[in-house]
């Protein structure tokens, strides 16, 4: 991946393992990417691909019992986050990088008033009195469209969409430079999702926040992201700008993914599907991790480790058979 000197956050060679019941799970394998100021990177992939793990690794909030960052570095404006001590890292969390979690229903502390939960992060990172912090919190609530007087309420008094907004308000309260949004809308109804997506976009534009948006909804990606990284079995298998990925998906997996979603504005009698199942993360196949499911697989695919190579400019792909794939199928995949 070529370095971009304006990269605000860059991740290099991130490897994360979990141990569970004695088995080692290779959740993230050699992931590198850059994030630019004011841009949004979408991480797309199926369940268990390692998306959340990547995000948590950046903030160093993986469960310390089971997870281990094997290697890698995360450079935030020249500082390697992995080299900071716990106290310095604490300063960065919430203030410079913050995160919106997958499930708004569970991401809020049920026994704390929402106002206090937002104020907490404010008072942790600025030297203001608690009163002032609470004022900031209330303002944040209003920004996300929740009436100020509801700051004394508890999470259970909010609907799912409002909770998600509170979570976002909390993440944005200290004007972070980087926002990690882990499936911020998956748990929500479409109408509410639309509200949240619009709000995220608005805040991002106003504050120039860099964002990593994790999702498996390609519609959301199309709506919000600038760059897209497709994750499969803990690896980035394709990377590029939104346009590159949507117009010219190159990796067979990405192709399959596009073929598998029913489209609103088009009729196909049968969905294209990817055969088989995602690999067992504790026992990943050698070579291309996708080759057992890939219809273009050749013997070489399982014999060598495949690297992520540019196809065109910044559009990267981890496949040795791109050239050999028939043109027709290629275009078929992009017909969206």
């Amino acid at each position: 991946m070529q370095t971009h000197d304006k990269a605000y956050l860059s991740v290099r060679d991130l490897i994360v393992d979990y141990t569970s019941d004695g088995a080692v799970i290779h959740a993230v394998n050699n992931v590198s990417f850059d994030l630019y100021r004011g841009k949004t990177l979408g991480l797309v992939g199926e369940t268990g691909a390692g998306k959340t793990t990547i995000a948590k690794a950046l903030m160093r909030i993986l469960p310390d019992i089971s997870a281990k960052i094997i290697s890698g570095k995360v450079m935030l404006e020249g500082t390697n986050l992995f080299e900071l001590d716990e106290e310095e890292m604490r300063q960065i969390r919430g203030e410079r990088i913050s995160m919106v979690f997958q499930d708004p229903m569970t991401a809020l502390n049920p026994v704390m008033k929402v106002g206090d939960q937002i104020a907490e992060v404010v008072s942790l990172h600025s030297k203001v009195s608690y009163e002032e912090a609470l004022q900031v919190a209330i303002k944040m609530l209003e920004t996300v469209g929740i009436p100020a007087e509801r700051h004394i309420e508890y999470p259970h008094q909010f609907s799912g969409g409002m909770k998600q907004r509170v979570v976002i308000a909390m993440a944005l309260a200290c004007n972070p430079d980087v926002l990690l949004a882990d499936e911020p809308t998956t748990a929500l109804d479409v109408t509410i999702q639309a509200q949240v997506l619009r709000m995220i976009n608005k805040l991002k534009n106003e504050k120039e926040t860099s964002m990593i948006l994790i999702t498996h909804d390609l519609g959301v990606v199309a709506q919000v992201c600038d760059y897209v990284a497709v994750i499969y079995a803990g690896e980035i298998i394709e990377y590029g700008s939104k346009e590159e990925i949507f117009r010219k998906p190159s990796h067979p997996y990405t192709l399959g993914l596009f073929g598998a979603i029913p489209k609103l504005n088009e009729d196909v009698s049968r969905l294209a599907n990817i055969k088989g199942l995602p690999p067992d993360p504790s026992n990943l196949p050698y070579g291309c991790k996708f080759h057992p499911r890939c219809s273009y697989a050749t013997p070489e695919c399982s014999e060598q480790s495949i690297s992520l190579l540019p196809i065109q400019g910044n559009h990267l792909c981890r496949c040795i058979n791109i050239g050999k794939m028939s043109k027709k199928e290629h275009t078929n995949g992009t017909s969206c």
């Binding site: 569970s20 019941d21 004695g22 469960p63 019992i65 089971s66």
Partner: protein
């Protein structure tokens, strides 16, 4: 039941848990020893020797002798039969009744549930040991009566555990599926509900076996429970307290065996719980 389970998976996980296996091993060894003790011990548990009373531990009597010159080790090993079977049988008593009560309350819900729960409320508002003592004083002392008293007093809490588990399962779609394919109610309860709701009950029953020994000791203390000469550990412990200063081996050894049992069963129970709920592990 042959289709019994995902228990296979639980057992597999359990087997991997060293602490749990250690605990189980302790328990099994105790049971084994209590069964074979008459054949391997030099002294029988009732053999008195007036010339060797209240002797401390020695090669001849590793755990010493008691006030009638009986070999404490033999008594303890043999007494395991009583102690362990008090635990196991009172759990069986409690389990069988609370299963009926709990599943009726949990599955049918509504009014029946309400009535049962209110009755359990009443019984549970008498603190446990008091209840056991009260029941025990109604039945009198003796092995079978102690088993009954301890078992009956435990019914409310077991029934509640089961009911809670059933309430959880009631939300499961596989019950609806069973109904959708036209399964009858008793089949749904016995095939689909109970086997899946038993795990937490079994876990707490396991741990509770150990607790009965302490209850038995308490009952002996207040003059109920299994009476000496039965070499039940709790009764031995309680009876030995008169000698606690001069001949501490009379209380230390039964106490130690109770502690080992409690330790073993709790380790096993903890492991079992972890195995039933893999989430809890990490």
């Amino acid at each position: 039941m042959s289709r019994n389970s995902n228990s296979k998976a639980i057992i597999k996980r359990l087997m991997k848990n060293k602490a749990a296996m250690f605990g189980l091993a302790l328990f099994v060894i105790l049971i084994f020893l209590s069964l074979v003790s008459p054949f391997i011990m030099k002294y029988s548990y009732f053999e008195m020797n007036p010339s060797a009373m209240l002797e401390g531990p020695s090669w001849e009597h590793p755990f010493g002798t008691d006030d009638l010159g009986r070999d404490v080790l033999s008594r303890i090993l043999y007494g395991g039969r009583y102690s362990l079977s008090i635990g196991i049988s009172s759990v069986v008593v409690a389990l069988s009744i609370s299963m009926v009560v709990g599943s009726i309350a949990g599955y049918f819900g509504g009014k029946i549930d309400n009535i049962i729960m209110r009755l359990l409320d009443i019984i549970q508002s008498v603190p446990g040991i008091l209840l056991t003592i009260a029941i025990s004083s109604a039945f009198g002392s003796g092995f079978d009566k102690t088993v009954l008293a301890i078992g009956l007093a435990q019914i409310p809490s077991f029934a509640r555990i089961l009911r809670a588990a059933i309430m959880n399962i009631r939300k499961m779609e596989y019950l609806e599926a069973a109904e959708a394919i036209g399964a009858k109610r008793y089949r749904i309860i016995f095939v689909h509900v109970l086997p899946n709701a038993m795990a937490p009950l079994i876990v707490s029953a396991t741990m509770w076996i150990a607790n009965t020994m302490l209850i038995a000791a308490s009952l002996s203390f207040v003059g109920l429970g299994v009476q000496p000469p039965t070499p039940e550990w709790g009764a031995m412990l309680s009876a030995g307290r008169a000698y606690i200063r001069d001949y501490p081996h009379l209380v230390i050894f039964p106490g130690l065996f109770i502690a080992i049992t409690v330790l073993g069963l709790n380790m096993f129970g903890d492991g079992l719980r972890d195995a039933c709920d893999p989430k809890l592990k990490n």
